[in-house]
Symmetry: C2
Subunit: 426 residues, 2 copies
């Protein structure tokens, strides 16, 4: 039984979220942060910017016993931006002009106006309302131009943050450090977290493993969430002090049953695992259907120039021959999508960039181009290091974007495979 002291919920406002135009990033981010602090998150509610919807949802959450609500959005300068006013009304706290905050915003705007050549007067007019603060609330300095608010509301606390993720994330620490939030969060018990990542293990096999382990160890103190994503299985376990043995038994049980298919015991992405395994060696890539996505994935982290030498996207047969030295005769014989061509591309990447490890990917992302023998989703992937190579040619499910994404994931796992010297199933 996991003790819950603080229940939270996230309220995302903004019609662009409802129209499907924007994918909400704030809800998951805030929810994850609250969870790590030990807050049990009831839900993420995205409503438009209609004051009545926002107010009704706040009242619904109050009725559900939610202690801490975090809102995002609706703090901009336009007439639709009404979150501060609605939250103030909900908390019974009228808005007052915070002159110190008004001056802070003016200084920020003056800088924007100078850098980007905007008309400072129209900006100032539009933004004065952003300095209106509910009485008794704690204002949080802006990262952009909109301040945040930490608003006591009876037994609850409402943290109000701007919509742009970079601003919200930059203001988070100050928001949770503000007295009303800090006092509430002090009641929450942070979770410990175990994050296991598996590849090439179907969900049903994981379910069977969990049942088996649970038969000999009491796992009830663990909150286990599993999610299958792009071929990778994420097993997130949350628990409190006292349940360490159960968590350890779960970890040991899964590693024992699934061995090298467990590619991380700390939630690390396969990319980071691969970078760690490179251990000073360098890598270059040759991509056809994934068209640069593998190169981009390998360089997401800063400092990637230390190990990433470069890549080519060889969409045409000529380019494969010219840039990678893939023999035209080979392509003529096996077609552009074959294990032999993937291997030649990996070797070509090593040659071209003087790298230690090379990866070649050639496949049929779809929706066109499939045949009986080589259907849409058929992808040939090869990873090579001098003297050794691993090659796979799975048929990956899904549409064009899925096949491209899963190919990149599969390629990274193949590199891991190669560097570990392991033979993984399938």
């Amino acid at each position: 039984m996991i003790v819950v002291n603080v229940r939270g919920a996230v309220l995302v406002t903004g019609t662009e979220v409802l129209s499907g135009a924007t994918r909400d990033r704030n809800g998951p981010w805030i929810s994850q942060r609250l969870g790590a602090l030990g807050v049990e998150v009831e839900g993420i509610h995205q409503v438009g910017d209609r004051p009545e919807d926002l107010l009704a949802t706040l009242e619904f959450l109050r009725g559900r016993g939610i202690d801490l609500v975090v809102t995002s959005g609706g703090l901009g300068p336009t007439a639709d931006d009404l979150t501060a006013e609605v939250v103030g009304r909900f908390a019974g706290r009228p808005l007052r002009l915070d002159e110190k905050m008004e001056r802070t915003i003016e200084a920020i705007l003056a800088e924007f106006a100078r850098r980007f050549n905007f008309d400072p007067e129209s900006l100032r007019t539009a933004n004065r309302k952003q300095a209106m603060v509910p009485e008794g609330a704690v204002p949080i300095d802006p990262v952009g131009t909109a301040p945040g608010l930490v608003v006591p509301a009876g037994d609850q606390v409402v943290i109000v943050l701007p919509g742009p993720p970079r601003e919200l994330q930059g203001m988070w620490e100050n928001a949770i450090a503000a007295a009303p939030a800090r006092e509430m969060l002090a009641r929450a018990e942070p979770y410990q977290v175990l994050a296991l990542r598996l590849f090439a293990v179907p969900e049903s096999e994981l379910a069977a493993s969990l049942r088996e382990i649970g038969a000999s160890t009491d796992l009830s103190a663990l909150e286990i969430t599993t999610c299958l994503r792009g071929g990778e299985l994420e097993v997130d376990v949350r628990y409190r002090d006292g349940a360490e043995d159960a968590a350890a038994a779960l970890r040991a049980g899964l590693v024992e049953r699934h061995g090298p298919c467990v590619f991380s015991e700390t939630g690390q992405s396969v990319t980071d695992v691969v970078v760690g395994l490179l251990d000073g060696r360098t890598i270059a890539v040759a991509e056809s259907c994934t068209s640069g996505l593998l190169a981009a994935r390998l360089t997401e982290r800063p400092g990637s120039s230390a190990y990433f030498m470069g890549g080519v996207v060889t969409y045409s047969n000529d380019a494969k021959a010219e840039l990678l030295g893939v023999p035209a005769e080979l392509i003529a014989r096996t077609g552009a999508v074959s294990t032999e061509v993937a291997e030649a591309m990996a070797d070509g990447a090593i040659e071209r960039f003087g790298a230690d490890i090379g990866v070649g990917i050639t496949g049929i992302a779809g929706p066109d181009g499939g045949t009986q023998d080589k259907p849409v989703g058929y992808v040939c992937i090869s990873a090579a290091v001098r003297g050794e190579r691993r090659t796979r040619d799975p048929v990956l499910p899904g549409g064009r974007a899925d096949v491209r994404e899963r190919s990149v994931t599969a390629a990274l796992h193949l590199v891991r495979n190669l560097l570990l010297g392991e033979q993984l199933p399938r």
Copy 2:
């Protein structure tokens, strides 16, 4: 005043959404589809898989006068998958085994078992519950293994669909065609939509334009949503029959004020606009900091091999020299990040791939590598076609991922710029 006949809401279940592990794709997708059908969407509510949270939210939505609720998730085979049962309870309809559906699922599972070598018995055991259907509900054939449901619930209709987006999207048309849904949706009046896209126009200037246009034309029959994303401004306008003149006036007013900064009047992405402008010509790219993201963007659509010749990711100076013929002396003189190097990279891409148009991008994505003169976010982008070139070197805001993404967007707009022969501001 826009008449609303049908109010809808989306209910996404699944703890992986709350933990931040998965970004919800279903909420925005369903919300957009409902909106296009003329349903006014109150919100997207993501709750965990606790039955009490799901039930409370359904009741909240009933209290808010929501006519049509669409749920996603919780239709899987595990003990946590309780959506069908909860919705049945909410609608006062007990679950019954639908034997025809059970046989349908068994046939699907047999195929999975054969293709992927799973144990068919354990799959069948786990999946029998997926054939339990609330009495009087319309089952929807699965795309994966989980059927959907269209459940009449008093004055409301609840459409229940699986969590995996590909399954949900594949079942959507059948779900809205099922009698209870179809009858309700017949009451809704589909919107007409105007989707304008602008680049290099700040939100405050758009706001000023809207105010000006609104001063001479009554825009109240239009529902206007604006969203600034990665430097692009999305203006989505919804309206019903009778408001065509207002929509036309808005469109004309924005085009008149912002000219070529309006890059689409149909919601087309800049990538698709560029592909259209290529008009038979071919393009190749040379990327440093964007590391393949531009190549990947240009190949998102099927058929891209018709115009995309290929690309290189030249992370090191050697690679820039070797693969693109960028003179080592030039890099030594100006550094790897300069407008001259970007131009040489664009020319190199044209040479290497025999393309008509070349793009070169070199910049500082950060967080390290910035200097006083060339701070983090400083990116040099050049687009060239024989005899003509456009080069820009903005400082882009945000973190590493933002700078990479915005560089790709800026590069695509620069290519548009080049192909149109326009000189756009900044």
